[in-house]
Symmetry: D2
Subunit: 329 residues, 4 copies
């Protein structure tokens, strides 16, 4: 029975606590910390009586905590993840691993020096049954060698005036990770092609089209649209030399009502990826190693920064990742 400590009980931390308590085998929430002690106490109670820690570092080093889940604000990820590495404890960090390439690099160095892979990054789509089946079909040769990956990532609404960089680092970063994971290779060049912005975004350069070229010469195009209004919608088609695989929406029913025959779209990502989150946590608790590593977290932020430069300069940007440390081979 793995005893998990959770740092940060916002939307994601609370949801992870619920899943660990009710739907994951072999784990329980043993400790909780949040800047808001009332909120932490509520989650601790709902988790069947976990201990509330006033200090996150005390939680990390406590003998009754076997592993740590970091779901606090992005800018705090680095210090907590580093503390976990120092304490020699497995840590699952919500994406992004850290907001800057430099911060990600410090985590990578620390873990590499420690000699043990302790860090997982919460790119949950790697556990989504649609994406995993897509990868399996690719591996089985069903569609031949991959050439193009078409991605669509739409949210109904974002904060008005959200900077264009945040569209990439918050949203498109999922596709940056999934492209690397699905094709099992690095992205070497990126460009961003923004149409006229929607009038519903308060000035945000939205939607955007990202073009990602991989080491083998495959190309991914990603539409990211954070003010798409009509619903949350994530789609992908992987085109190979012999055929294609397309994600199909998970709503398990079709409704015919009021002149329409169709499927309801979720309002946000949580119902869409509920199963992915559960499987991600189960994998982490089991230690089976399916999650994104610190290297993956570093690479995602590295590529995202190149995309931000491409957006800002209007020109294609090479992506020259440093060599991958031995630890991640």
């Amino acid at each position: 029975m793995k005893r998990v400590g959770i740092i940060g009980t916002g939307i994601m931390g609370t949801d992870h606590a619920r899943l660990l308590t009710s739907s994951v085998s072999g784990a329980r929430v043993a400790g909780v910390h949040d800047l808001d002690p009332v909120r932490a106490a509520e989650v601790a109670l709902a988790s069947g009586g976990a201990r509330v820690f006033g200090n996150p570092y005390e939680l990390i080093v406590d003998d009754d905590i076997d592993a740590v889940l970091v779901a606090s604000s992005d800018d705090t990820h680095e210090e907590y993840v580093l503390a976990c590495i120092n304490a020699g404890k497995p840590v699952l960090c919500e994406k992004p691993l850290a907001p800057t390439v430099e911060a990600c690099g410090r985590i990578l160095d620390a873990e590499d020096k420690s000699g043990t892979r302790l860090v997982s990054v919460g790119f949950m789509r790697r556990f989504d049954p649609g994406y995993t089946q897509m990868k399996r079909m690719l591996q089985l040769g069903e569609i031949g060698a991959p050439l193009i990956l078409h991605c669509v990532h739409r949210n109904p609404a974002a904060v008005p005036g959200l900077p264009g960089a945040a569209v990439i680092t918050n949203s498109a970063v999922h596709e940056l990770d999934i492209t690397r994971w699905l094709l099992d290779e690095e992205i070497i060049e990126v460009s961003v092609h923004a149409p006229r912005a929607t009038s519903h975004g308060g000035g945000t350069p939205d939607p955007q089209i990202l073009l990602l070229r991989t080491a083998s010469g495959a190309v991914a195009d990603v539409e990211v649209f954070v003010n798409a209004r009509y619903g949350y919608d994530v789609r992908a088609e992987l085109v190979g030399e012999l055929g294609t695989v397309t994600l199909d929406g998970p709503p398990p029913t079709v409704l015919r009502r009021s002149g329409m025959d169709g499927r309801a779209l979720p309002a946000d990502w949580r119902p869409r990826f509920a199963e992915a989150y559960r499987l991600e946590l189960q994998d982490w608790v089991d230690g089976t190693g399916g999650a994104a590593t610190a290297w993956d977290g570093f690479a995602a932020t590295f590529v995202a920064q190149a995309c931000v430069r491409a957006l800002e300069t209007g020109t294609a940007q090479p992506v020259a990742l440093p060599p991958m440390p031995e630890l991640y081979r």
Copy 2:
């Protein structure tokens, strides 16, 4: 941590052991019995070191067993479930509760006398996300009052020459249960309309069309076809006064290959209902009471027997269930 004993380690028992060990929160397999002690030992080992019991009744009464899962052959269900009731232990019995109305009735009486609901029956479809969303949409009024339920239940192949009665009691029984559960009322009349039999069934009267009339006057039609050859396929459409809800297949991807654009069908029921089994077990471990009760198990067998008579006589059969005991209100 609920300690579960499993009686019977065939396909279903082994699968339940795996789920309890790897994917369900708050439970572990603590004891295993099977007629084949080698098989029992294998499952016990894979479950992380459960104890193997040579005698199922010893497993049932053992102090280290909190709850029992019965997945042995159908004709043994009655005696094991009765022993669990006597021992005051929760029991999840694979469907059917028992093969005859009389045997089901004896279980019902025993449980009613015990004054506590201990028995759950493994009609896993009640936990399938498609069926539960269908029921939720009905309850939300999305389609108005229900009028018709169309069901299709196809297996690729059955034992050649399987008796017509077994097509009903093994396969169609799932639809008998789901009709009662979805519409939340009893079936009061049944008839069976068999087309010419397929040439691939070795003489089995297959396919069959069952018509079920409920107390409120809704009608369910059920095509059950156990030698459909092309794949495992379960579908349903619930027609209300304002609209309809249709199950949509769960394969999360579409494959375009060799001149075809479509979804792969599973070879049998296990991938189709994998999520339903997991949720059923989690519900049982949590004691949240979503599963079919002994009354539901009794009613399913009762209606199935009426369908068998309808098949054999070619005439509609009334279904006059005895009054439901107070315990199940």
Copy 3:
């Protein structure tokens, strides 16, 4: 250039005039009659200057009319079709051929005596690309020998209090014809199973489930629901020994809007079967003989009357068609 005379310029007659004028090769509307001479004149004008006839019998025998399209009220079909047979002119009669078995029989006798097949009946679904592809796949052996045909036929709304018999003779009659045509054999027994009626039909026994057994032992089940509210919806699945074929809705686009991903449903049958009507008329003008014959029209009315008796008596009804005259072999 075939010169067509149209009798009756209601919805269907006007629509046929438009198609003959604008979308069919080798024909033009040369004469028009309607009880309402203003309406007839409007259609004649829109058809490029056809002649208006005050008397339908004069239209039928006029030397400048090569063929006649009967789209007047059902009870007038018999006399006009008989007049066409007497005049030796091809006639396309909207369904039903005539409202009673007796009237259909008189037409059949007259045509049989004339020794020439002059009568076509407007069961346009025989030309719908979906149904024709379904039949082609059956004929190609794609699904093996047919066993079951599932049909759904839903209209959004009917006249309140429409008699139950009219639900069959107006609506379900299309499925009676399509079952005979698709399976290429006669229906030999029918029964009707009405659920509780919808509260939106003003007392009409609606929906209804018809069960039709064919000579070879296949079974068709037909849901007909004329107050389905949500849209016009016609679907069918043909189940064979090796696979199935399902009609797929013809709207050529999917709309994602307001939380829904789906296809718009037509409000009535005309957009749904627009292509079928065009192909039906082209076939008739070409004389290629794809349409339903007088025998088919007779049989559809014959089976419909048996269904009405089944509805009224609550018992299965045998369908003993007289021998098919030599002319229709």
Copy 4:
């Protein structure tokens, strides 16, 4: 009755002759020319006895020919279309209007000087029910202002070693036209992003991704893949500020067979766009002016040449169309 002369009886010319004879109202094939007189004679015979012309210019000026359909090889389009303009006769020219911008420009000048719009170009997709419904939904405001158009255009196989330019001018040119037509504005910048080439193309740079930016700032991305192997597949999604519209494949049935549930894909473009061709010809015969004009033909070739330069240079290319002549306003 419009008397049509056809120049060129290859695949397209023969198909047009068949449609004009059998499925279009108000026209007949009156003259046929082909380099191969035997082939011309066959088509003339199948068209009900058209006259065979040994000289295409004699066909064009003949008094018994009202309008001309040019379906000869691309490099002959210019001279025949110019001859039609000189003769003052309507001409429907298969795409491309001409292979070079200069040749297209000469046609444009000649027509402009003639002062009458006589030339139509056979971009048949403008008549496809899917594209027309997409445009209608856009015009009705169903999806708000357009931002992105995603296009996919796949053929199963092309001539091995086909030059990259031909992938654009033969195939992607359809999307160049449809983008202009759908968004009703000009393309002002293009770039081409080729992934690693498929190993099944004999060296053709295939697939390609084209990015097209329009005057208002919308962006179209076009995957063109002429050796996609698995089937002919054309898809498009138009993304607006409020929702999206997606083309849905026209096969009217779903087949469940051999473990798969799906729709058959056509082998080439003819079944896919059969209805578009028929409607295009009917529109042309009716003179309703829905087809692409000489200006559209010029613009398509102009943009295609910019895409070829973008492919060859690897850089984005501005597209500076000359002013549109008054005649096309």
